[in-house]
């Protein structure tokens, strides 16, 4: 089994004095993760709202046409 490689949690955060290089990469990875999934998830909600509004418009148009006849 792999073992924890650091003597303490503080040593883990210090990354053998490479903390300022290692951690930013992993923070950027977290940003990459978020930018990959979040915009399309929010975009989907917007699209569903737009299409719903479009459907409602079409239904009301049809209803008006029905009244006209």
């Amino acid at each position: 089994m792999p073992e924890f490689q650091f003597d303490s949690f503080a040593a883990f955060l210090a990354m053998g004095d490479y903390a300022i290089y290692v951690w930013p990469v992993y923070i950027l990875f977290a940003l990459f993760f978020v930018t990959t999934v979040l915009p399309p998830i929010l975009g989907r909600r917007k699209i569903i709202r737009q299409l719903k509004a479009r459907l409602d418009r079409m239904e009301s148009d049809m209803a008006e046409q029905g009244e006209g006849n």
Binding site: Q5, F29, I48
Partner: protein
């Protein structure tokens, strides 16, 4: 096989396949990334030369892989767009572009942050780095080019042509470390017997993050493609049913 490919060309079928696979993909991706990141950061042994600094590799190599893999997939889709005018191929190519661009950016950033302590510089115009930067501009060029067209068909064809031209750069990136005398090292070998190769303790976490990145890529690909399908197929009954279903009770 051909029948399966044919079905994949149907937006509705693709959409529904995405719906079915997303829960599994999410589970597998989060698991792989969590294991890979924790293992790579905390449990893999330090490198005998670079110490803990080498832990950047668990992000650097998978993002470089995505940079190349995304573009190869875009090129295949582009060929399908130009040869057979497959709409679904254009949708997928459009969905991949931003993911590939962001992966390239992550790769470039990780290489700079790795370069400072190991090479003493965050940037150097060697063949590997320069061709990778060019790749980022190609991604951005394709994204911008698409937005320059009003017509969807013209945009699809223009982006497909640019993608097929740009794909030349991928083998250049790949072989740059062999063709030219670059500061960037060549690919390291993996192995259990070869004494100079990286041992499994080092590369097993990279497999987890690597497959995690692939999973993340497919999640992004499916989500973006589904949105595009909903927009393009908005006049069909099945999309109307989805809209009605998702807004019911709202």
């Amino acid at each position: 096989m051909w029948q399966w490919l044919y079905k994949l060309g149907s937006p509705r079928w693709f959409y529904e396949l995405g719906e079915r696979s997303l829960p599994w993909l999410w589970g597998a991706t989060v698991f792989l990334l969590a294991v890979g990141v924790v293992w790579g950061l905390a449990f893999a042994p330090p490198d005998y030369q670079m110490g803990d600094n080498y832990r950047i590799i668990y992000m650097h190599v998978p993002s470089a892989g995505l940079m190349k893999g995304c573009f190869y997939m875009m090129a295949i889709c582009s060929a399908a767009v130009l040869l057979w005018k497959i709409t679904m191929a254009d949708i997928v190519a459009k969905a991949i572009a931003p993911i590939g661009a962001m992966a390239t950016l992550l790769m470039l950033a990780s290489s700079s942050l790795w370069g400072i302590p190991t090479w003493g510089t965050w940037w150097i115009w060697d063949a590997r780095l320069t061709s990778s930067l060019l790749q980022f501009f190609i991604y951005m060029g394709i994204i911008v080019l698409r937005s320059a067209f009003d017509s969807q068909d013209s945009a699809a064809r223009a982006c497909a042509v640019l993608t097929l031209v740009g794909v030349v750069n991928i083998p250049i990136i790949e072989y740059s470390v062999e063709w030219w005398n670059t500061l960037h090292q060549g690919a390291s070998s993996l192995g259990m017997r070869d004494a100079s190769a990286n041992p499994p303790e080092i590369w097993i976490p990279a497999f987890f993050t690597g497959f995690g990145f692939i999973g993340l890529f497919f999640i992004g690909l499916i989500l973006r493609s589904q949105n595009e399908i909903l927009l393009r197929e908005r006049r069909t009954q099945w999309v109307r049913d989805i809209v009605a279903k998702e807004t019911a009770g709202a």
